[in-house]
């Protein structure tokens, strides 16, 4: 569905993405992992057209997006929903206005029709009765849910999650992970989750990719990732993932466990 081909990006001489390539298959939940500053969020911004790559191509359903004009790019963006790390709710609007924003901007739906969609999307994220509240009146978890409801408002084909569990308590993290899984099953959407939270990654992923120093160093389903021999990946998993999912027989992992326990 989305193909990232040989993407390069640097900021003020500092290289962030170095020829990164990645495939996001339709209907999968791909988790993109990597250390802070490895270029995960930059990649997300390049895929959504918020940033331009220095070189490389992004293909969305057979269309190369860097060649598109603003109107064509916006047409692609209407197939996308994005949950930002900070939820990025418009603080001058109510929850209902936030969720209805895209509908208000790009459709001629009546107020009542929009209201119905708002209620429907809020119930999808297990949140009701908050329509008239302002974002400042919501807790962190509620803001993420509203952000997700807003991302769902236009029935996207792909949902991007930028660090969906960052800054949340463990119980709320678990609820958000459950929500991502539920939405994937209910709506059959393609999901791309950028995170360094290994609990969250293994909880939602059907496919995983690891980025290190601006390049993809591992790709596969969660089993393949656990059994991968790349030392950087194994170190990342060991220090982040719950012990019960680790493959203790993996010799690379055993080496790191030895170092960890010393």
């Amino acid at each position: 569905m989305i193909l990232v081909k040989n993407i390069w990006k640097n900021f003020g001489g500092k290289s962030v993405l170095n020829g990164l390539s990645l495939e996001i298959p339709r209907g999968e939940t791909l988790v993109i992992m990597g250390r802070s500053g490895c270029g995960k969020s930059v990649l997300l911004k390049i895929i959504t057209g918020l940033l331009a790559a220095d070189a490389g191509e992004i293909w969305f359903d057979g269309t190369e997006i860097s060649q598109l004009n603003a109107k064509q790019l916006n047409a692609i963006r209407r197939k996308i929903g994005m949950l930002f790390q900070s939820a990025a709710l418009f603080d001058s609007m109510t929850v209902a206005e936030n969720i209805a924003f895209m509908l208000d901007q790009h459709t001629k739906l009546t107020h009542a029709e929009m209201r119905k969609i708002v209620d429907e999307k809020l119930s999808l994220v297990d949140l009701e009765g908050v329509q008239e509240l302002r974002p400042a009146e919501l807790s962190g978890g509620m803001r993420k849910r509203v952000g997700l409801a807003r991302a769902l408002a236009f029935n996207p084909e792909v949902i991007f999650y930028d660090e969906p569990t960052t800054g949340l308590d463990p119980v709320t993290c678990n609820e958000i992970n459950q929500l991502i899984r539920d939405l994937h099953e209910k709506l059959k959407v393609t999901s791309v989750v950028v995170t360094h939270d290994m609990h969250s990654a293994f909880s939602v992923a059907t496919r995983m990719a690891m980025i290190h120093e601006g390049k993809q160093i591992a790709y596969g389903n969660p089993d393949e990732i656990i059994n991968n021999d790349d030392p950087i990946l194994q170190q990342f998993i060991l220090f982040g993932a719950p012990d019960q999912i680790l493959n203790m027989a993996n010799p690379v992992l055993q080496e790191f466990i030895g170092k960890r326990d010393r």
């Binding site: 603003a70 916006n74 790390q85 603080d91 895209m102 901007q105 790009h106």
Partner: protein, 259 residues
């Protein structure tokens, strides 16, 4: 090397500011114009600034009246104080004081609002949802400032003349009827036009600087970045108003020969 970098950054910023300005002009003429957003900004810029503009104009006029009378009296031409107040307020101080008030009040608030939106990824969210941030955020603010600054200048000018009138008539031995007659005699259509041209230009400059400073902050700028951008916006707006005033005076009075 440091000087070269600073020069490079300054030129790059000027280029980006002009790019945003031209994008704004293009988006103004690209339908649809969202009247609800424009109305909200018109109220915010205009109605909410009216009281402070009236008070500023009134006291400026009073000071002008007192100073004018005191300075003109030794030459025995204190009768010209009305002309002095009228010409100064209409051509210079009306638009200038209004612009200064709005640069501090509205320009800084535009920057604070937009830079906070940038830092909290709200502007990115707008773009991802297929809405052009220049069209949605900049155009209403730019139009509101360009429309409301001349409107407020008219009020400020009247307040200034009223202030001058009250100060001079109540404190000195000047006939009120004579003062008003002198004002009427010296109030030309060209002067009012100069005032409105200046005010519109100042309004566009305040909005352009405010919006550019708000948009130019990096997402990682944080609260400190918002503060720096807001202060920078007010300072640059004030300087831009003074430079624009000089340029417009030169063009209108020196080149075109208006009176």
């Amino acid at each position: 090397m440091l000087l070269k970098n600073r020069l490079h950054n300054t030129l790059s910023e000027i280029g980006q500011a002009w790019t945003l300005f031209f994008q704004t002009l293009v988006q103004i003429f690209r339908p649809p114009l969202q009247f609800d957003l424009l109305t909200k900004q018109l109220l915010l810029v205009g109605f909410n600034s009216l009281a402070v503009v009236l008070v500023s104009g009134f006291f400026t006029g009073m000071v002008l009246g007192i100073q004018g009378y005191i300075q003109l009296k030794p030459f025995a031409v204190e009768g010209s104080v009305a002309r002095f107040v009228c010409v100064s307020v209409v051509k210079e101080l009306g638009p200038m004081i209004t612009a200064f008030v709005l640069a501090g009040r509205i320009g800084a608030s535009i920057t604070a609002e937009l830079s906070t939106m940038k830092v909290t990824e709200q502007i990115d969210a707008l773009e991802v949802m297929g809405t052009n941030p220049v069209k949605y955020l900049v155009v209403p603010r730019f139009l509101a400032c360009a429309i409301m600054l001349p409107t407020l200048t008219i009020f400020s000018t009247f307040a200034g003349i009223a202030g001058g009138f009250i100060a001079v008539v109540s404190l000195f031995d000047v006939n009120g009827h004579f003062f008003l007659l002198e004002v009427q005699r010296n109030l030309f259509v060209a002067s009012v036009l100069v005032s409105l041209i200046k005010a519109t230009s100042f309004g566009m400059a305040i909005a352009a600087v405010g919006c550019y400073k708000g948009f130019s902050i990096s997402t990682a700028g944080g609260a400190e970045g918002v503060g720096t951008a807001t202060t920078g916006s007010a300072v640059i707006s004030l300087i831009a108003i003074l430079v624009l005033d000089f340029i417009l005076n030169h063009i209108l009075f020196n080149i075109l020969g208006w009176v």
